[in-house]
Symmetry: C2
Subunit: 476 residues, 2 copies
């Protein structure tokens, strides 16, 4: 191999020359030409300048870029919209970034099959808009919709606002095209809901954060648009009442239940008292605050169903108080209590933030244990708890208010220790990237860790694709 017979620098230069003969000047940026935005993702890790950024505008271009780099033994880091929080798209020194930003667009909408075929670089919001214009819904939705790209959403198996009803990003994928670490382009653009012919290969690339392949195209499932949306904010006395309300929501609202967000009192106070523009729709204090949302078919029929469901829960003493949204503006105002988390940085400053997952029954005792361990180790700590409880996803925010610098790694260690003790997961939706690598073992067994490393070696024996992301150990 070429790179074995020369210095690393020689291999890099040869790689750059080969890339330059394949790609135009606008598709290949090296050294100081590389824009600042490509030097980091949204993980707040320090920026890194890669060797070059290649921006192919075809799937074959992505495959060629990967193949050329592999031939020269130069690592590749795939980049999408750079909205990831875990460091999965952070550049590596001496590596070539392959950015999907120029491979964009909707290739087909098939109303009879209820599918949409998209290129990986397309922003999620563009995909949502195209589906909407065709009379359908893309079930995936998250805060970064305007800047994140569908390829990145799939590579990280994004969660978002509607998991309880539609599942994670991977559950919306029927077909996938991707480039392997040796530059092979694998096309499997299935459009059928049922296809049981051979191994379900696409699953290897959904959620593996660009370490096994680079996603280039996808066929996504389209859903009918909901006919109406109803929401309520409820105040409850205990966590037992929260799980009882969840159980009633699953039964009484069935497949129309679209969100069940739980906020602990310390979160509620921070959100409704300290964030500008957020008001509490109900008076407190309560032990817990729950935002329930239902997507129905018909405002009259399903609106009456939702109100009756809330009334019964009140009569049965499961909820202490509730406000039911009377308008779209109300629904937006209710969601603001939950979305306020995005504003915490403005008055809390730098803080540790988590997207852990836990079995539903232990969430409140986890919160209590976590709060206690944090307070013991860091007496002035402030910790806030909230999350998508129905899908076992809890967010934690923790910091020392007013401290000049935050004890991030100490907070991490305490919170992840508790996650391990309660049988939870260190990432429910954001992924592992660089930031959670050392905690991955808290969630996965040793046998699983070995199998992951074995798969990485099988597909990427030279460890050239996004090396060091997700898995710490170097494949042998």
């Amino acid at each position: 191999m070429l790179h074995d017979t020369q210095t690393a620098e020689g291999a890099r230069n040869a790689c750059l020359s080969a890339l330059a003969s394949r790609f135009s000047a606008s598709a290949l940026l090296a050294g100081e030409e590389i824009p600042e935005r490509n030097l980091q993702d949204s993980s707040f890790l320090p920026p890194v300048r890669p060797l070059a950024v290649v921006r192919p505008d075809t799937a074959e271009g992505v495959a060629d870029a990967m193949r050329i780099c592999a031939e020269h033994g130069v690592p590749v880091v795939p980049q999408g919209g750079l909205t990831g929080l875990a460091g999965g798209a952070r550049p590596i020194e001496g590596a070539v970034v392959v950015s999907l930003e120029r491979f964009t667009g909707i290739e087909e909408i098939d109303p009879d099959s209820a599918t949409i075929t998209v290129r990986a670089g397309t922003p999620l919001e563009t995909v949502q808009r195209a589906a909407d214009e065709a009379g359908f819904l893309i079930a995936l939705d998250l805060g970064a919709r305007g800047s994140c790209q569908i390829g990145g959403n799939l590579a990280t198996n994004a969660g978002g606002n509607r998991v309880i009803r539609y599942g994670m990003a991977k559950e919306m994928v029927l077909g996938l095209e991707y480039v392997l670490p040796d530059g092979t382009l694998v096309t499997g653009l299935n459009k059928m809901l049922k296809n049981n012919a051979g191994f379900d290969l696409k699953q290897l690339f959904l959620g593996s954060e660009g370490t096994l392949g680079i996603i280039t195209r996808a066929v996504l499932r389209l859903y009918p648009k909901p006919g109406c949306t109803h929401a309520a904010i409820c105040g409850l006395a205990s966590y037992a009442d929260v799980t009882e309300l969840l159980s009633r929501a699953r039964r009484g609202l069935g497949p129309m239940l679209s969100a069940f967000e739980v906020m602990w009192p310390d979160y509620w106070e921070a959100a409704t008292v300290r964030v500008r523009g957020v008001r509490a729709p109900i008076n407190g204090p309560h032990g817990f605050y729950v935002l329930v949302e239902m997507q129905g078919l018909d405002a009259e029929i399903d609106g009456a169903r939702f109100e009756r469901w809330i009334e019964t829960a009140f009569e049965d003493g499961v909820i202490e108080d509730a406000a039911v949204a009377q308008s779209t503006a109300d629904i937006t105002a209710f969601w603001r209590t939950r979305d306020a988390a995005g504003e915490f940085v403005t008055f809390l400053g730098a803080h540790a933030a988590f997207d852990i997952g836990l079995p539903v029954p232990v969430m409140d005792i986890f919160a209590a244990a976590c709060r206690e361990k944090l307070a013991t180790a860091l007496p002035d700590v402030l910790s806030l708890f909230y999350g998508h409880i129905a899908d076992g996803n809890m967010h934690v925010v923790a910091l020392i208010p007013g401290a000049a610098s935050q004890p991030m790694s100490e907070i991490d260690a305490i919170v992840y220790d508790q996650v391990r003790a309660f049988g939870g997961t260190v990432s429910a939706e954001h992924g592992i990237g660089l930031k959670k690598r050392k905690y991955l073992r808290y969630t996965r067994t040793e046998a699983e860790m070995s199998l992951m490393a074995r798969l990485k070696r099988a597909l990427d024996p030279a460890n050239l694709l996004n090396p060091g992301k997700v898995l710490e150990a170097e494949p042998e």
Copy 2:
């Protein structure tokens, strides 16, 4: 390695001795002790007597059996309830069958997480009953429920009656435990709906028909029971009306739509005229017959919704006629028109049967092309078409009525050629096993075929686990 230094027979005997020191006499059956039922599955391929059948009653026992066989270079064939139609569980001469039949039972039901943890050998119906008694629904259902085992359902990614609403078997799995071809037991019994920590390893074993690992335990998602069920049989003039009705069902019944079964007139006549105990709920003739089913929350509210939906379709001229079920007995009678397919063998005798998948828009032109090609090659052929159209799954039955022997491979070649021409899949739900191996290339690209072989080699370099199933080529 032991088996390289002796004859194949020597290795087999050494393997049997090692198994005999690990397993009791009731757990290890060899030669003539092996019951007839373990010599074949439901594929109608000729029976094969394996070297031995091991029936461990623990997951560690399954791992030990696999490890001992691997150490002696003896192949292993996993067996579940033996209801598979594609030959995936058919024994291989000289191989050891590892049957899960004694590793049964429900380990846990967690109502708050809405999960059930089961052992692989548990019959599906037992799992369904346990969920039902706990007030939940197991969404997977299929005709063989009394004899099939959950491990086999997951290994083949079974489809069944409710895919349109709940997805295939794999979509119900949150956690999985399995044994690798080297005997490693990998436990990943996640119970959380959202878990994005590392590769989603379980997907490799769901639907790969026991060629990459042997499933031992699973955590399945539980759903709320539907509050009510409504159904109608509709007569329609054209396939364009069928797809219009499907589109209206997706919008008007939303996530409550639970079945959309389409029957072509030739099928309808065979089912309602020739099968005993089946009566046509509506008079014909129509171009197409559709069974629509909805699972609602409340009989009064959702029953009225269903009737209004049918009335509107009639007023708009999408359907020519319809009968709406007025009772549970009616619903059963309506389903009998569809389930009649199971009785065809009684009056048609031996016939070729298919579980192909196609993009929804081309299904009718596929049926016409298929009918024509079959009639040209085999002038006296009878072919019947029906299926779960909403999920792209079509069943075809074809035969020469009265012929002493059926031209099975000629019929296969003609039908699968058309599947390839129309961009379909050779298996929507039953899997590939032995019977569809040579047609797998019709559905998957060459790059996908190579990647499947590469994964097989990575996990099973000596090709010892269920060799020759799904993939034809021997891994190198």
